[in-house]
């Protein structure tokens, strides 16, 4: 069980980093974009999204600033730090290697 949770958490972090990598974006935007880009296959629960964002911010992978969003209240916009970018690159590579390897095994 614990392993599965780790994997999910790691995956969510990767998805968030990737999405934030596209430029400053707020929490709602991240959830929406993941939903859209995964063709509605991956729905991120707010209950996991925000703790993950705060964790990544604490680790120094994300930084945040408050901005006006035209209409409505101020939004908290996240963007990648230098460390976040490095981490994204590494995690992405690792994920692709891993996914590729799993695929190879499954296809054989």
């Amino acid at each position: 069980m614990a392993k599965k949770a780790d994997l999910l958490q790691g995956t969510l972090d990767l998805l968030i980093l990737q999405t934030v990598g596209g430029g400053p974006i707020h929490g709602y935007g991240i959830a929406q974009r993941i939903l859209v880009t995964s063709k509605e296959l991956l729905q991120v629960q707010q209950g996991s999204l925000y703790p993950a964002l705060h964790r990544l911010e604490r680790k120094g992978l994300l930084k945040a600033e408050w901005r006006e969003t035209g209409n409505g209240p101020m939004g908290k916009f996240y963007s990648l730090t230098a460390a976040g970018r490095t981490c994204l690159r590494e995690e992405k590579e690792q994920w692709q290697r891993y996914a590729g390897a799993v695929a190879m095994v499954l296809d054989s």
Binding site: H26, G27, Y28, G29, A31, Q32, Q45, Q46, G47, Y50, P51, H54, R55, R58, W66, T69, G72, P73, M74, G75, K76, A83, T86, C87, E90
Partner: protein, 898 residues
């Protein structure tokens, strides 16, 4: 912090509000009503509070989870190398423990305030002048010490006390006391000897000590005619009376007078100085022995020429010592019998700091404690260096792991923190264990302080001591933790992988590694400790084996105190004569003698004597002895005759002097001439004695010294107490029961006090030397073990890194002997400079060591050869093992590994 926290909370709420806003807008766009959209948005978002809490957790416990990870990881690393961990933890526990103990003891003796409320208000009342003021006083009891150009003394007449107390009443409470003395007591039919201190009625209330049970003394107890009451120390109550609260109100006999127990002191109060062994406090007016000390009786309360009381004062709040001084000084002058002719040199009051009580222990032990403090600091330094070295070696072994973590994005700071956490873990475990070590050491030390006194000083393991341990631990952590952590994190950069090839390569490294420098440093420190141990052991051995001038085996001694157990002058003479005769007839006893001062008990009755008609005078240790006393020690006199019973009875003014004094006074010609005490009250006739005999030199007061001896006849009618010395023809233990039986036949109610053999008596006087030697040996051994472990670690680590090198040498035909010699050389290359660095340190510290030594130079050729010899031998042994192991390498295998 609250502000910061609130902002965080507000941000969290705003962030969620923002999200909800978008959700609602989305639903509204899809055509739902505002209310419906709001409801659906909320439903989709889920439990806000829970999410908030999760986010908070991510922040709040961030550092904690980090710490937890560090600790878990640290514990795992420690378990992976149990030997290193054990060595490190033990090194620290020993180093920190020894320090805590010594520092607590220094605190207790040198720095701690008396355990009474507002100790800063206490003032010791002294006077300063030039010499003994003969025009003002005929007799004194107390101490007089040089302080710069002044003589500072602590004794006052009762009149002075009364006068000061009266005139300074608004500024301070002045109280009086005299030093404690042995008394014979009987409680519930049980005779024993205790230590009683005469104090003024307001003494305990001035100190603001509280009673544990019953009440303390008051002024109404300290007047003639008041019922005699006594207050017990908590220690006496607990140890002797079994903490029985019902003893209050019960009768107790002190020196044959009936007292009633008024109460018991609170446990925290130990007296006026740590190590104070007072059992009973009695009012001045009821301290019979105080009166007999001056052979004056009640006169001490009226005669203002007898200065035998010590004074202390508690200043009222807001009153400074400077403010109090004039009032006390005026009262002091007013109390004198006459005004001195020369007012400029007359005594004047000085008020000294009293918050820490009396300072006799401080003066006596400051140097010893400083030496011990220095030694344990060195020991801790060795322990820290050892741990640093172990951690350093382990860090190098972990290089690949650490490099891996760095390359995985772990920050340098994070890594430093991890390494520091690991050393902190070691320190905490070591620190916790150190309390046990501290306790053991302090028990030893307590005995050391007590020395020839009878009570050990309890080790007080309280918040202060624990604080000291914590402080020592933290400073140790700084020393041993920071360097390896910094060192290894510094090494770890991107080029580490390239370095790696070189580090295990074929080339021997040039220059000194930090590990090697550490080992040299350790050796230097160890040589200091080992040398100190050698010095003090030799000191003790030299004293113990020194010849006292008589056969120390088969001698028993004990005290009797008939004068305080109901014998009056008329009965004392027959008592002593009967005692000698009765004991002489006990089987196994070959001789019995009486002395007024206990032999070999440090100190004695000191006098200055001169030959009549000559001015040169000499310090002598005087003692009153029965005619058979000298026969116990020596076969015959050098010249002249011994005392007789007639001398004793008639209180003849005859004397026997020691051979060395006789030589000073003119050899045999001194027989028949008169010697006189050189000092005494002015106007009084100085006592004179006819020299009738010359005795061989024996160590009479202590085995450490040979003062000139003056033997006078024992005067039984005036001896309240005496020491009985017996020579036995069989082992003392076998004869003792017979002696005890004879004593109980003489008087069942007369206790034998401090019964022991002469050998025990001598070694009791050497407790301080023995403790010092024991402690120094313990520290020296520890230092030796620690530095040997350190050296072994460095050498075997070095050898393991040079496996390939050694393999090649062996493959090229080097014999195992060559390899052993090579590694031994490397070990000695660290040991020898270490030893050479350490020896001068001992030389520099010699001044402090000298004060602790008797008849010995701190650094002499034997010590100079012995201590470095021990260290070098240990170094060779430490190096030999890795050397032999390296020489047994299989060259083929090592080369294959490369």
């Amino acid at each position: 912090m609250p502000f910061f926290w609130n902002r965080r909370e507000a941000e969290l709420r705003n962030e969620f509000a923002h999200h909800l806003h978008h959700l609602r807008a989305e639903y509204e766009r899809q055509g739902y009503s505002r209310e419906e959209a709001e409801r659906m948005a909320r439903r989709e978002f889920g439990a806000i509070a829970r999410t908030e809490e999760q986010c908070r957790d991510e922040r709040r416990w961030a550092w904690m989870t980090g710490l937890r990870q560090d600790i878990v990881y640290g514990v795992r690393m420690m378990r992976r190398t149990p030997a290193v961990t054990l060595a490190a933890v033990l090194s620290l526990a020993l180093g920190i423990g020894a320090n805590t103990a010594v520092v607590s003891l220094m605190d207790l003796v040198l720095w701690r305030d008396l355990p009474v409320p507002n100790p800063q208000q206490l003032t010791l009342v002294h006077w300063q002048g030039h010499g003994f003021p003969r025009d003002l006083t005929d007799g004194a009891s107390g101490s007089m010490d040089k302080a710069g150009a002044w003589d500072v003394a602590d004794f006052f007449s009762y009149a002075a006390y009364r006068e000061m107390r009266r005139s300074a009443a608004r500024l301070a409470s002045v109280a009086a006391y005299s030093f404690a003395d042995d008394v014979s007591i009987t409680f519930a039919g049980r005779p024993m000897v205790a230590k009683a201190q005469p104090v003024s009625g307001n003494f305990l209330s001035t100190l603001e000590v509280r009673p544990q049970v019953g009440r303390l003394l008051s002024d109404s107890d300290d007047v003639s005619g008041a019922p005699a009451v006594v207050v017990l120390s908590h220690r006496f109550w607990a140890h002797v009376l079994g903490s029985d609260p019902s003893v209050v109100g019960r009768p107790i006999t002190i020196d044959n007078e009936l007292f009633v127990i008024a109460g018991v002191l609170e446990p925290a109060f130990y007296g006026l100085a740590p190590g104070d062994d007072t059992d009973l406090y009695t009012a001045l007016h009821h301290a019979a022995f105080l009166h007999s000390r001056f052979q004056l009786g009640r006169e001490i309360f009226e005669n203002n020429r007898y200065w035998g009381l010590q004074l202390l004062a508690r200043r009222a709040s807001g009153v400074s010592a400077a403010h109090l001084l004039p009032a006390v000084d005026t009262a002091f002058r007013a109390s004198w019998a006459q005004q001195p002719k020369n007012g400029a040199t007359a005594p004047r009051i000085r008020l000294d700091e009293g918050r820490r009580g009396l300072d006799f222990l401080r003066d006596q032990f400051r140097n010893s404690l400083l030496v011990l403090g220095g030694l344990v600091t060195l020991l801790l330094a060795i322990a820290c260096v050892n741990v640093a070295n172990l951690l350093l070696a382990r860090a190098v072994a972990r290089s690949s792991e650490l490099a891996m973590r760095i390359s995985l994005g772990c920050s340098r700071a994070r890594l430093l923190r991890q390494l520091l956490t690991e050393s902190a873990l070691l320190a905490v475990i070591g620190g916790a264990l150190s309390i046990a070590v501290a306790w053991l050491t302090a028990t030893l030390l307590g005995g050391f302080l007590a020395g020839d006194r009878t009570v050990p000083i309890g080790f007080i393991l309280d918040a202060r001591t624990t604080g000291i341990a914590a402080a020592v631990t933290i400073s140790a952590l700084m020393v041993f933790g920071l360097f390896p952590a910094w060192h290894s994190s510094r090494r770890l950069d991107a080029s580490w992988l390239q370095q790696r090839a070189g580090s295990t390569g074929l080339l021997a490294r040039r220059g000194w590694s930090s590990g090697q420098i550490f080992a040299v440093f350790q050796m230097a420190l160890s040589v200091v400790l080992v040398m100190t141990a050698v010095i003090f052991t030799r000191n003790l051995m030299a004293i113990q084996s020194s010849d006292p001038g008589f056969d120390r085996r088969n001698l028993i001694l004990f005290n009797v105190r008939p004068g305080t157990s109901g014998y009056d002058k008329a009965r004392l003479t027959p008592f002593y004569f009967n005692l000698e005769q009765r004991l002489a007839s006990v089987p196994g006893v070959s001789g019995v003698g009486l002395a007024s001062m206990r032999p070999m008990n440090i100190g004695g009755w000191w006098q200055e004597v001169r030959l009549s008609g000559r001015q040169d005078h000499y310090p002598v240790s005087a003692n009153g002895i029965s005619p058979s006393y000298l026969d116990l020690y020596t076969r015959r006199l050098v010249a002249g005759r011994n005392f007789t019973r007639a001398d004793e009875r008639e209180k003849s003014t005859v004397a026997i002097i020691s051979e060395d004094l006789a030589r000073k006074l003119g050899g045999d010609r001194v027989l028949g001439r008169t010697i006189a005490m050189a000092d005494g009250p002015p106007g009084a006739k100085l006592p004179e004695y006819e020299v009738i005999g010359i005795a061989p030199v024996i160590a009479a007061t202590s085995i450490k010294e040979r003062p000139y001896a003056l033997w006078l006849p024992f005067w039984p009618a005036g001896a309240q107490e005496a020491t009985v010395v017996l020579r036995t023809s069989a082992p003392p233990r076998a004869v003792l029961p017979g002696i005890q039986k004879a004593m109980s036949e003489i008087d069942r109610n007369l206790p034998m006090v401090d019964t022991m053999t002469m050998e025990e008596q001598i070694s009791k006087g050497l407790q301080r030397e023995r403790m010092f030697a024991t402690l120094c040996n313990a520290f020296g051994t520890l230092a030796l073990v620690l530095s040997v472990v350190g050296l072994y670690g460095v050498v075997s680590y070095g050898a393991s890194r040079r496996r390939a090198d050694i393999g090649v040498r062996l493959a090229l035909g080097a014999r195992p002997g060559n390899v052993i010699a090579m590694i031994l050389r490397q070990g000695l290359a660290m040991a020898v400079p270490g030893v050479l660095l350490g020896v001068p340190v001992v030389w520099l510290g010699g001044k402090y060591l000298q004060k602790e030594l008797t008849n010995m130079k701190p650094v002499d050729p034997t010590t100079l050869l012995l201590a470095p010899g021990i260290l070098l031998l240990a170094a060779v042994l430490a190096t030999l093992f890795p050397a032999v192991r390296a020489s047994a390498l299989d060259p083929a295998e090592t080369l294959r590994q490369e």
